[in-house]
Every structure is written in structure tokens, then in C-alpha cells.
């Protein structure tokens, strides 16, 4: 079977974060983890080409995945394999999106990443094989991926036993007993010794390690970003007031302040009266400009990113985070101030 393999710029040996902005390209044969994959797959399967794209480019351009798919088709792929992306958000998003468009276009595809990778919800109908959290687990991750490729190539379905990540949907349903009565039952079960009883699993919240402080604030570009739904007055792009499905960007180049009446918050989750009287208190453009003038920061980025956090699902918010990071990195931003409500 002719296999096309996707990796990011780092695993292709084209550079680290400095090369994350490069566009889609195709390399002959195997590169990096593709070599191990080819070795494990044996003679029956042939990795005919490796596709590469920079993480920032892939995560911030919706055209990247279709472009890569065309390259895979041109290389005569029977099967597309993406990753393993481990826990890397941008890389995971790129793998998942490529696998999704390939699968939808009739090219069987498989992505590999850690089950907590924010990209996982973007894989569409393509199967995702679990990988470790970091590249330290490269060998077992690629071994599992190779076994899955072999099975898929033989026309067999992949299951959880193959390491396939099954996103178990939690389905809402009406039940006989109201929630308050079930809460009392649950208390009594727990008091009776069943300490594991719960309707929703508890724990499992990841801790976000803060990035290292910027070395010299006076020499970096700083961006303002917000989940407080700051938009031009009248909300011309119709940002949702709750349950965001997207995020927006607006230029502030040359502006010293967000004038009241010209900007507003459409957030449905907090009292916007004070914020609308002075939108700078939600997105501190005036203060940031003052810092820029004083030389306390190098430069303020020419646009801000905005969405609404109110009621937005965690999976969506994690994806926005990955996309924002890619967008800002690509623009040369080294630090961001995220205002939340």
C-alpha cells in the first residue's frame, strides 16, 4: 500500500519554532519518525512521500489541510498517516484536520496524538490512535501506530483495543428522578462506603504550566487578547454573546484608545455597562499604548483577538487557544495579555 506521512517542520528536520511559519511542502520518501514507521511496517507497505507544514501555518490557515490533501493525492496515496503529534496542540490540530479532510474525500486516513490533545475533536470521521504525551514515548507510540496502519490496510476496523481514541459521547436524557433526589441518593451511597459513586467523573483537570517570563519586556511585541467579546459597536461580524463557535480579530494600529460608543462588549455573561462606558477597561489599549510610549514594552501588536468565553465548551476554547497561539507566533508576538471576565 502507498502511504503518505504527515509531520511538522520539527520532525521533518526543517527547524524548530523559528520555522513554524513555513507553508505546505512535500518531501520524497521518509523523514524522522517516518523512518521508524516504515521499518515497523515492513516491505508490504511503502511510505512514498512525506508532507510537511509549519505548525503556526497549519493551525492558522484553514487552507493548509486541503492543500496538503492535494499533495497526498498527487503522490498517489492509498492511505494517509499523520503524526504522532503527542501533546502538541498546533501539531495535533494540523494532523487532525488533514486526516479529517482526507477521510471525507475518500482517502483513508489515520492520525496519532495524545488523547488530551486539543486537536482531537477536529479529526472528523478519521480514526485517531493514542500516542504518548511527549516524544519520549516515540517508540511505543509509533509501534502502536504501525500496528493500526497494518490492520487498517487489511481492511479491518480499528477499536479501542488498537489504541483508537474513542470519544465517548455523554448523552443528555430525561430520567424519572429529579436531580435533587439523585443527589440525596448519591450522598447516602457515598456515606455507605461507595466512595467511587458519581454521575460525572471527577478530577482529571490538567494544570497549565505558565510560560517563562519574557526576558526583556522592552524589546518584545505584546498582543492584547480577550474572551470578553469586545467588538466594534453594532457587532458587524455577529460574534455570539454565549457559546462561541468562532473568534475574530480587529486592527488597533494607530489607535490610542477604544472609544466609548465605537466599541462594545456583547458578552452575555457579565454586566457590560461599565465595560461599554469605557471599553479600555476590558481590553486595556490605553494603558498598553502608554507602556509602549514609555518603552516598558517594545511594541503593541497591531490587532487584537477576541471571542466570548461565556458558555463556550472547553473543547472549543482549547482549540481557540491553539489557533491564537499560532496566529500570534506567526505575527512575531512574544507575549500576550488575556483579559477575562
Amino acid at each position: 500500500m502507498r502511504i503518505v506521512h504527515y509531520v511538522n517542520q520539527f520532525y521533518a528536520g526543517l527547524g524548530g519554532e523559528d520555522s513554524a511559519g513555513i507553508g505546505a511542502r512535500v518531501l520524497k520518501g521518509t523523514v524522522g519518525p517516518g523512518r521508524l514507521l516504515a521499518q515497523l511496517l515492513g516491505a508490504e507497505h511503502d511510505i512514498v512521500a512525506t508532507l510537511v507544514c509549519g505548525d503556526d501555518h497549519a493551525a492558522s490557515h484553514t487552507t493548509a489541510a486541503p492543500e496538503l490533501l492535494k499533495m497526498a493525492q498527487a503522490a498517489g496515496a492509498d492511505l494517509l498517516v499523520a503524526g504522532p503529534a503527542f501533546g502538541s496542540g498546533r501539531y495535533g490540530l494540523a494532523c487532525a484536520r488533514l486526516a479529517a479532510v482526507a477521510q471525507a474525500a475518500g482517502l483513508p486516513a489515520l492520525a496519532a496524538m495524545h488523547p488530551d490533545n486539543p486537536g482531537i475533536s477536529e479529526a472528523g470521521d478519521a480514526p485517531v490512535i493514542a500516542a504518548g504525551a511527549t516524544a519520549r514515548e516515540m517508540r511505543p507510540s509509533v509501534q502502536r501506530l504501525a500496528a493500526a496502519v497494518t490492520k487498517l490496510a487489511a481492511g479491518e476496523a480499528l477499536t479501542a483495543a488498537d489504541g483508537r481514541v474513542i470519544q465517548a459521547a455523554r448523552v443528555g436524557q430525561l430520567v424519572e428522578q429529579r436531580a435533587a433526589a439523585r443527589a440525596v441518593e448519591l450522598v447516602l451511597r457515598r456515606l455507605g462506603g461507595d466512595r467511587e459513586a458519581t454521575e460525572v467523573p471527577v478530577g482529571g483537570f490538567g494544570v497549565v504550566d505558565p510560560a517563562a517570563p519574557v526576558d526583556k519586556a522592552a524589546s518584545v511585541t505584546v498582543a492584547l487578547v480577550t474572551e470578553g467579546a469586545v467588538v466594534p459597536a453594532g457587532n458587524p461580524d455577529r460574534l455570539e454573546s454565549a457559546r462561541a463557535s468562532r473568534w475574530l480579530r480587529y486592527p488597533v494600529e494607530g489607535a490610542d484608545t477604544l472609544a466609548s460608543g465605537a466599541w462594545e462588549s456583547v458578552d452575555g455573561g457579565f454586566a457590560t455597562t461599565a465595560a461599554n462606558a469605557d471599553p479600555n477597561r476590558l481590553l486595556p489599549l490605553d494603558a498598553a499604548r502608554a507602556l509602549e510610549r514609555e518603552g516598558a514594552i517594545g511594541r503593541l501588536h497591531g490587532e487584537f483577538l477576541t471571542t466570548v468565553g461565556n458558555g463556550t465548551p472547553v473543547a472549543t476554547a482549547r482549540r481557540f487557544g491553539v489557533e491564537w497561539a499560532a496566529q500570534l507566533r506567526k505575527a512575531g508576538v512574544q507575549a500576550a495579555i488575556l483579559t477575562a471576565t
Binding site: 429529579r178 436531580a179 435533587a180 439523585r182 471527577v202 452575555g268 454586566a271 472547553v314
Partner: protein
């Protein structure tokens, strides 16, 4: 602590008429009296309608909901202390309850996240307020009045109307008399039964996002042990219009579901130990402070286990998380009521913020979409903005928009269960 008797009058139908009256399960709402009760410099006009369970009626942008209650002739004091009655008055006694009736306001307010009640169909199965005979008040603000003034006028009007309607039944024989004993006192024998209490967090985020205790915002307060008899009599009144499905209207405080379920099993497999009310502050340090203090208070009051409730989402989820963790750290058994926010397909992480220990009851998925059929008549507005549709149209909406469908006080019947989705590659 005083005891209370509910003198329950079962309401089977409500009509609008010339004068308010009550006779054998039937309530008439006096048109002119409603006008007089809502008379306020901030309100230009009010209109009153009725909506009964099963009607093909949609109530758009419902605001607060109140159960008609009033004190009996033999009982001093009054209901809604801090609003319509003094706080310093005799507690307990007889409270007449028009069970099966509710008064509610409907219409746009600046921070009213638009929701709906359908009186029939799938949304009706999900909202406790599709099961009550609803007296619905629409209102128009006087142009020069502020929205805050209009909101206070509507809230006072609703409370007055609730008392006015219940007063009509005070002379009639009740259908049921329910005796509510005070909570079990700490230090007295329990025959080995666990002492289970409840912490109810009240939202405290300023205008249109506030809940009142004795007429005052709880913002800035420490958690306090509270007399459940006073909650029955309307000491907790809602002025909170966020997330419709996650809202706790006054009606649900008057009929606090967790207190009701604890009372239902009191003396059988648990002792109802009491109620703690707590604000939901907006700053992290304050959240930690009130949570630590609430946990200490529960232990000091001798609780063995606590059910913790919230109002709202996100911010409020952190309050639950801190409390459950603080309670469990002190050795108390804790259970919290959360709504899940796992996306429309239910595959995302279910909780925005969740405890590290303890247990969680699911009140349903905020994001799950529900298809609603068209209806014959709408109240509260002519447009359903969240669906960009005519108010009576067939629409698809998230569960988040159905009033109290995901009730954090446990008044709803939704939950979520995992369903294995084995897509074949």
C-alpha cells in the same frame, strides 16, 4: 427554630377575570388588581395572560417566577421579608400555598439572557415551569426610567401579585396540610443516621445578576447558616437573569428541591441538618475565602455530608469546586450539582471546572440541542432572538435556553450518560 405549616391549595386552572377570587382549585386573577399592584413610576403599562400546562404557548424571555404564598389569618408576620414584610417579625406559623400556580414576568431586560418556556412539547418536558398554571406579566418601561428601576418595579409587582393571589385562598380549607419540622439540632442523638445539609450558593454579580436575602444582595457576605422556614417564606428572592437553564428563580428557592428531598427522607435514612447560604464572589481569593469558611461552618454545625448547589456557569462552577474540595478535606462527604458543557455532540470535557474529590450529579448537557415544534401563541415577545426566528416558529435551540432545564438546585429531570460511539473506519 420555629416550625411551619404549609396550607396547600391545589390549583387546577387559572383565568383572568374582573376581580381576584379562589374557589375549589380554581383561581381568578383580577385584571384591574394586577394593574394596581404593578403601578410604578418606572412602568408605562403591564399586560397579564395565563398559560396552562399542555397549551401550545411559548413564553419568551421569562424573568423571575414566584409561587403565590401568603400568611394565614391566625399567623402574624408575612412573606417576602425584606420586601413586603419586615424581617423582625414572628417566624413560621401557617403559610398558604397555591400549589400548581406561578406568577412570572416575561420580556427583554439588558442582561436577561433570552430563554423560553414551552407549555407543551420537548421543552415542556425539561422545564419545571411548564407544569405550573402560569400568570404571565408583560411590561413596558417608561422611556425616561432606567432599566434598573423597571426591573425593581417588575420584581416588586411580582411579589405583590403572588401574595395578593394567595390571599384569595386564605379563607378556604386547604387540600393538604404539610408540617415542616426545624432541622435536626447538632449534638442531639440521631439513632445512627447521618446528618446531611445543603450549601446553596447565590449569584452575586451586580445589577440583573444578583440574588437577594432579606431584600439585600449577599455580595460581600460570609456564608451563613440560614433558617429553612424563612426560605419557605420568601427570604431569598431572585434578581438574576443569566443563563436561563441554569437560573434559580424565586419559585425554586421557595420550593428548594434539595431541602425538599432531604426532608422527605428525614428520620428514615438521614437527618436533615440545615442550610447554609453563600455568595458566589467574582474574585479567586474571595471564592477561596467563602469556600473555606462554608466548609468550616458545616463542620461546626455538625454536618456529616453536604449537597452543594450553585447558580450560573463557569464562574459558579469554580465555587462548587472549591467548596467540595474544602468539605472533603475536612472529612465531610460532598456532592455537587453541575450541568455538563460537553458541546452539542457531548464528546468534549463535561466540566469547565470540577472538584478533585467528592462526587458530581449531572443536571444535563448545556450544549445539547433540542428541536421544538411551532406553537400557536407567544408571550413576552414576538421574536425569539437566539434562534433569529418568529416567536411561535419551529426552532432548534440549545438546552441552555430552556428555563431551569439544567436547574442547579436539582429541580430538573435531565442527566447525561456515556454512550460508546464506535465509528467504524
Amino acid at each position: 427554630m420555629p416550625a411551619l405549616r404549609r396550607m396547600v391549595h391545589e390549583i387546577h386552572s387559572v383565568k383572568i377575570g374582573a376581580a381576584t377570587g379562589y374557589e375549589r382549585h380554581h383561581l381568578v386573577v383580577g385584571q384591574d388588581q394586577v394593574q394596581a399592584l404593578f403601578a410604578d413610576p418606572a412602568l408605562a403599562s403591564v399586560r397579564v395572560h395565563v398559560a396552562a400546562p399542555g397549551d401550545r404557548v411559548r413564553i419568551i424571555a421569562p424573568l423571575d417566577v414566584v409561587e403565590p404564598r401568603a400568611k394565614g389569618a391566625g399567623s402574624a408576620g408575612g412573606v417576602f421579608p425584606g420586601w413586603l414584610a419586615p424581617v423582625n417579625r414572628p417566624r413560621g406559623g401557617d403559610t398558604h400555598v397555591l400549589r400548581g400556580a406561578a406568577v412570572l414576568a416575561a420580556g427583554q431586560l439588558p442582561r436577561n439572557q433570552e430563554g423560553l418556556i414551552d407549555m407543551s412539547g420537548p421543552a415542556a418536558e425539561r422545564s419545571p415551569f411548564a407544569r405550573t398554571n402560569n400568570v404571565v406579566v408583560e411590561f413596558d418601561r417608561v422611556e425616561h426610567a432606567s432599566w434598573q428601576e423597571a426591573e425593581v418595579a417588575v420584581r416588586r409587582g411580582l411579589l405583590r401579585l403572588a401574595v395578593h393571589l394567595a390571599n384569595a385562598a386564605v379563607g378556604a380549607p386547604p387540600d393538604v396540610i404539610e408540617e415542616l419540622a426545624p432541622p435536626h439540632q447538632p449534638g442531639t442523638p440521631t439513632s445512627g443516621l447521618p446528618r446531611v445539609g445543603v450549601i446553596t450558593n447565590l449569584q452575586t454579580q451586580g445589577a440583573f445578576k444578583d440574588v437577594f436575602v432579606y431584600g439585600r444582595s449577599m455580595a460581600g457576605s460570609l456564608p451563613t447558616l440560614f433558617d429553612p422556614v424563612e426560605i419557605e417564606d420568601g427570604a431569598v428572592v431572585s434578581g438574576q437573569y443569566g443563563h436561563p437553564a441554569l437560573r434559580n428563580p424565586t419559585y425554586l428557592h421557595q420550593n428548594h428541591p434539595v431541602i425538599a428531598e432531604l426532608r422527605a427522607r428525614d428520620g428514615q435514612d438521614l437527618c436533615f441538618a440545615g442550610v447554609v447560604l453563600c455568595p458566589e464572589p467574582v474574585e479567586q481569593a474571595d471564592k477561596e475565602l467563602v469556600s473555606t469558611h462554608a466548609a468550616w461552618l458545616c463542620r461546626a454545625a455538625g454536618f456529616d455530608a453536604v449537597i452543594v448547589t450553585k447558580e450560573g456557569a463557569g464562574n459558579a462552577d469554580n465555587d462548587l469546586m472549591f467548596k467540595v474540595d474544602a468539605l472533603e478535606a475536612l472529612g465531610l462527604t460532598a456532592v455537587a450539582l453541575y450541568a455538563e458543557m460537553s458541546g452539542a455532540d457531548g464528546t468534549g470535557p463535561p466540566l469547565v471546572a470540577g472538584p478533585r474529590r467528592g462526587a458530581v450529579i449531572s443536571t444535563g448537557n448545556y450544549d445539547q440541542r433540542v428541536k421544538l415544534p411551532s406553537c400557536d401563541r407567544a408571550m413576552g415577545g414576538s421574536q425569539l432572538r437566539i434562534a433569529d426566528a418568529d416567536a411561535t416558529a419551529a426552532v432548534e435551540i440549545p438546552t441552555a435556553a430552556i428555563l431551569s432545564a439544567l436547574s442547579p438546585l436539582g429541580a430538573g429531570w435531565l442527566t447525561c450518560r456515556p454512550e460508546q460511539q464506535l465509528g467504524v473506519a
